[in-house]
Symmetry: C2
């Protein structure tokens, strides 16, 4: 109880609590975890949450950058739910461990378009 | 070089890279580190960066929640700079390790007012 009260208030969540949190699909299957998220230094806005899975000790893992608002926190499951068609996730932009993209505006626009979300910048 | 390129792009920074980053004052003195930051779950906006210092192995540490835009990243120093009068920081709202505040709207308004920043919600 105390941990929940201190780490997560009604509308705020601590950065170190987001990292490592499980991500589920609509069917309740565990897809992976949020490994990190990317914050715009000037605006302080979270642009991407990175969903990661697979691999052993971080080797060979796949990373899916997701627009923040694709994720919904589900208190019942204790993790985030990605309410997307399995086919959408199957074909989603991803990168391998050592091949992180530039995360520039072009990449952002393409990613947000893929998920049908307006690029907010 | 590779680490910088992958963890921090021109305008984005990885959450796990913010945590543990040093914070300096105007004079270049090391104040402490960013222990975590608080993200609004709905908007994905960073409300507070928590500057922490003192204590041994996390015991007896003091925590100063700061509005995100009080911090400026200084590539030269490799950390954040808090451009505030020492007296302002000396009297700033803080909390002890086991006494995290509620981070509700009232707390937010008081904190932002203390730092002379308009409450953005």
């Amino acid at each position: 109880m105390t941990t929940i009260a201190t780490d997560e208030t009604r509308s705020l969540i601590a950065s170190d609590k987001v990292e490592g949190t499980a991500v589920f699909n609509r069917a309740g299957e565990r897809l992976g975890t949020v490994s990190r998220f990317m914050v715009d230094k000037r605006s302080g806005k979270v642009d991407y949450a990175v969903l990661s899975f697979g691999g052993l000790f971080g080797l060979g893992r796949d990373h899916y950058p997701l627009p923040w608002n694709v994720l919904t926190y589900d208190t019942h499951r204790g993790g985030y739910v990605v309410d997307l068609d399995p086919k959408v996730l199957e074909n989603a932009p991803r990168y391998a461990e050592e091949r992180e993209p530039a995360f520039d505006e072009r990449y952002g626009r393409e990613l947000y378009t893929y998920y049908g979300i307006a690029w907010p910048y």
